[in-house]
Each structure stands twice: as C-alpha cells, then as structure tokens.
C-alpha cells in the first residue's frame, strides 16, 4: 500500500465514522412512516409484499399462515398489529423483515427449527428490525456515507488528473474506498443484527418462551454448516455476526433461566404434515448433505421416524455414489419397520434392489407397494417392472 492508498482509506474511515444515523423506535400505536424517506421505503415494501402475495413462492396454506401469524403476534406484543407473517416456499434457513412489517419465513427455516421457542426467537429478532426501524437507519447511513465517499472519490479522481497518481492506481483507489464503505456498512448492520438478537430475546422471553432456545438455533446451524462444509462469507463483510459469536452472547443473555415453554408439541402439530414436502424440495436442489444432517437431527426428536428414514433413503438413492446403494437399502428397510413411512418406501426399495441386481427382493418390494396402494397412478408401470419389462 502506498501513502496515497493509506491516506484514502484513513480519510474515508474518518469521514464515515461520523455519519451513522439512528432513528427512534417505532411507536407501536402509530405504525406508519414518519418521514419522506420512510414513506418511500414503505412504498417499495408494499409493492414487494404484494408481489410475494401474488407469487408462487407464498405457501398457499391458510392454516400454516395463521399459525406463523399467531406465534409472531405473541412475540411481537405491542407491535402485533403492524406485522404480517408469510410462509414462503424456499429451501434454506432464512427469514426477513421489510420496513412496513412484512415478514417472510422460509420453509427451509421451518424445517430446521425444532420447536415453537426456536421459531419465536427468530420471529422476535425480525420484529425488532421493524420496531427499531433498522431499514431507515441503513438508508440514511448509506445516503450520508455515500455523500462523503463521493467527496473522497472526487478528490482522488481530480488528484489523478493533476499528477498524484496514474490511471490504474486511480481505479484501485476507488476499489479500496468502496471496500471500506462496504465493510463499514456491513459492520453497522452487524450492530443492527446484534441489537435485534438481544431485544428479540427479551420479546420471546416476555411472551413466555424458554430463552435458551435462541442460542440452540445457531448451534444447529453451525453444526449443519460444519458437517457439510458450507462456504461462509468473509468475516469483514459478513452482514450477520458469526454464528459462534451469536451463540455465545445469546447463551450469556439467557443465563441459567430454565423457565418458559419450548412448545415442541404445538410446533409439531402445526408443521409435521408439511415436513416431507420441505425435505423433498431440498432434495430437488441436491442438498444431500444438508438433508441428511437435518433428517438425522429430527430423528433424535422422534416424530414420524419412518418418514425421516425414507428421506435418508432418498438422499442415498439420488446421490448414487459408491456405497450409496447399500445405505439406501438399509434406510428404506428402517423406514418400513418404523412408524410413519409413506408407501413409496416399498417402491423406492424395489428400485434400489433392482439396481443392486437383487431381482427377487425387488419384486417383493414392488409387490408390497402395489398391495398398499393398488390404485396408485403408477401401478401399471410397477406391474411392468414385475413382469420384467420397462
């Protein structure tokens, strides 16, 4: 780094540090934009919300939507009237809040949280982004930061013209200042995330949920990331605090408070019927490792083990790597002997046995499928397998 670089970075950092913007917390009784910039944010949020409502991604299921809205409202307390929670069909762990109270909860998140308290921890976090008007703060900060950056860049660009540096250096200087701005903005947003974590934890605690659930969400996520070697964003530019850091302060905040409900049964009652569909969606994306980790964790909790063994079988059948055939056969056999397996477990067992050239056993499995669902719409095809054709 030459002196010009250092001066540029230092100047940018100095200027930027003075321009963070803080908005007062939203008044719950008056959930409406309070100033022109916020009106604009609400306007595009409303458009976004309508687009999602009309899209195919919004899960068209009034019962699930009502459940999420109900948990969201209990957590939001006084902010209940301002927020609207939508289930969105998308694999991956994610939830988001728009400035106008429009909240999306991805089905991949619902697949991964283990009880209502964990769901409440995430919803509480999102409610705080809304209540604290973090989007407005970001917009104002960006506007101010960008104005100052413009001054910095203009100075440097003009400097380039008067002989301070050559053309290519000018370009790299622009990159450096942008990097600082990006890192700074991301860091600022990390403060938002941490504030939302801490205040959100208070919300879920007030609503009667066990506060220890919050750290558990991140624990599970870290375990999945590590088991599947998922890439993580560079620490400097990460918009969320690293999950391990998060676990630590959430754990500390929850302390030894063992009170509050976990709501595991309520969560199962509301979501178990959809679980297979959500696992299937992740399989279509070939997230084999992640489905395996999630299914094995859910198996520990006990509900519908047959279904989970079936999806483990699907992981191995579809992955089709050396050794997977035997693992698939074992998983389907486990499924069939446990409660809650779909009849397709027999058919899929037949498919992998046939691949393993275990014809007689394959026939038995196909026959077992036909015995269970004689009127299935693929019965003719399965009968063709039995006849040795197809």
């Amino acid at each position: 780094m030459n002196p010009v670089h250092i001066a540029a970075v230092g100047l940018a950092a100095l200027l930027i540090a003075g321009c963070a913007f803080e908005a007062p917390r939203m008044a719950p009784a008056r959930a409406a934009p309070q100033q022109p910039a916020e009106e604009g944010l609400w306007e595009i949020s409303r458009k976004f919300e309508e687009a999602v409502a009309m899209s195919g991604r919004k899960v068209d299921d009034p019962a699930l939507e009502a459940y999420l809205q109900d948990v969201g409202c209990r957590v939001a307390g006084p902010y209940c009237d301002g927020i609207r929670v939508y289930p969105v069909a998308a694999p991956d762990f994610n939830a988001s809040m728009s400035p106008n109270g429009f909240m999306q909860v991805w089905t991949g998140l619902l697949l991964r949280v283990e009880n209502e308290a964990q769901l409440a921890a995430v919803l509480g976090h999102e409610v705080m982004h809304y209540a604290e008007r973090h989007s407005l703060e970001r917009l104002e900060t960006t506007r101010r930061t960008a104005n100052l950056l413009l001054a910095v860049q203009f100075g440097l660009f003009a400097g380039g013209h008067t002989g301070f540096s050559s053309g290519p250096v000018r370009v790299s200087l622009g990159d450096v200042t942008n990097l600082v701005a990006g890192g700074y903005l991301a860091a600022y947003s990390r403060e938002h995330e941490e504030e939302a974590d801490r205040e959100g934890l208070r919300l879920m605690q007030t609503a009667g949920y066990h506060p220890g659930a919050a750290a558990r969400v991140w624990q599970n996520l870290v375990a999945e990331q590590e088991a599947c070697k998922l890439p993580r964003p560079a620490a400097l530019l990460a918009s969320h605090p690293p999950s391990t850091e998060r676990m630590a302060y959430l754990d500390q905040l929850a302390g030894s408070d063992a009170s509050g409900a976990n709501g595991e049964q309520q969560f199962l009652d509301a979501t178990l019927a959809y679980r297979g569909r959500w696992l299937r969606a992740e399989l279509a994306l070939r997230h084999f490792c992640r489905v395996r980790v999630v299914a094995e964790r859910l198996l520990e909790r006990g509900a519908n083990p047959g279904e989970l063994h079936y999806y483990l079988g699907e992981v191995y059948r579809l992955r089709n790597e050396p050794g997977d055939l035997d693992k698939a056969i074992e998983a389907y056999e486990n499924a069939i002997s446990a409660a809650g397996a779909p009849p397709e477990a027999h058919r899929e067992l037949g498919l992998v046995l046939q691949r393993a050239n275990r014809d007689a056993e394959a026939r038995a499995a196909f026959q077992a499928y036909l015995d269970r669902v004689p009127g299935s719409d693929d019965a003719a095809m399965v009968r063709a397998y039995l006849a040795g054709a197809g």
């Binding site: 195919g56 969606a281 070939r286 046939q354 719409d377 003719a380 095809m381």
Partner: protein, 199 residues
C-alpha cells in the same frame, strides 16, 4: 419493473435460445433427432438446437416448449447442453440432477421434476407414470404439473425410452396450463405417435 420482477420460469432458456440462430421446423417434413430417432410435425415451430437436445416453440419458450433429447448417457443433465458440463463450474455442476445408466422410469420422472425445480419451479410433480411405446420399443410416459415463481401453473407430458446401451431418449412438452399447453397438445400427441427409431 413489473415484467422484470416477475421474470418467468424458463428465462434462462429464452436467453439461451437467443444465442443460437433460430431455425424453422416445416410442417410435414420428417425431422431427424441426432441420428437416433425421427419425428414428424403437422405444424410450424421455431427451433433451437444443441448437441443432444432440440427446443421447439411457437409462442415463446416461456409459454410453451417441446424438448427433444437423444442419446443421453450416464452423467448427462437435462440442461441445454446436456454433455457440455465443462463450461459449468464444478460447484454448480455438482448440484445438477443427472441421468444415470441404471435408472428406471421412476428415476427419470424424478430427474425431470427436480430439474424443473432447479430451473425455478416452486413445486413440480410427475404423475401417472405408465408404460408406453417409443416408436416400436417399450418406453414410458408421465404427466407433469408445476408452478412457476410467478405463481403460474404449467402442465407437461413426457415420453421416454432407455435403450439397450442404457442411453435415454426423452421428449418433454411443457406449457402454461391456461391456453398455451392445450393449444398444441393434439399436435404434440401426433408428434409422439410419429416417433421412429433410426438406429
């Protein structure tokens, strides 16, 4: 803008279609599909082609499309360039649903529905899998239904055949449930009935 926000499913295909010169499928002229099989159409289509795959449409591939695959081998995908995975980053390629030589018709139906999800379908179902003739050989057929990100319902049908060398021939017809799928349904049935294996 609105149209951009609701970029329909299959946009990737539109872009890809733009990369090759579109040519014409003339009514009544037999069309050879990569030396593997022949089909005949009574209607005019706009055609785009890659190795192992042709795409035909009349109103635009977002609205309806016929995909004719030939000779897919172990490891091939249903993407535009089934075999040119070299152009795709390994981290992306890893997640593409692929055909395997040991597959049975049920596996092929799953391959199609997963590929549709990867192209942006919110949910995709392959149903009513049944034996059917592919030319003079044994094959299979199934029906498809999927919903785009924009919420539009699409219908589809598929006819496939896995030959003695464990290669897959597959014809897929997809279109919006409203208007554009039914518009050429009869025509497509006639194309499927016209299949003649040439090897």
């Amino acid at each position: 803008m609105t149209a951009a926000r609701c970029i329909p499913l299959l946009l990737a295909i539109v872009l890809a279609t733009g990369c090759v010169s579109s040519r014409t499928i003339h009514p009544g002229e037999p069309r050879d599909i990569f030396g593997e099989y022949r089909v005949m159409s009574a209607a005019k289509w706009t055609r785009a082609g890659w190795r192992n795959m042709e795409l035909w449409t009349v109103d635009g591939p977002q609205l309806q499309q016929l995909r004719l695959y030939a000779d897919l081998e172990d490891g091939d995908s249903l993407y535009e360039r089934p075999r040119q995975a070299v152009l795709v980053r390994p981290s992306v390629r890893k997640y593409r649903p692929k055909f395997h030589a040991q597959m049975l018709p049920h596996d092929v139906a799953e391959l199609v529905s997963s590929t549709l999800v990867q192209w942006g379908a919110v949910e995709a179902d392959a149903t009513a899998l049944r034996p059917a003739r592919f030319g003079d050989r044994d094959g299979f057929r199934f029906d498809i239904r999927f919903v785009s990100q924009g919420g539009l319902v699409y219908r589809g049908l598929a006819l496939g055949h896995i030959n003695a060398e464990k290669r897959l021939h597959l014809i897929l017809y997809l279109g919006t449930e409203a208007h554009y799928f039914p518009k050429f349904r009869e025509e497509v049935e006639a194309i499927l009935a016209s299949v003649e294996l040439t090897r």
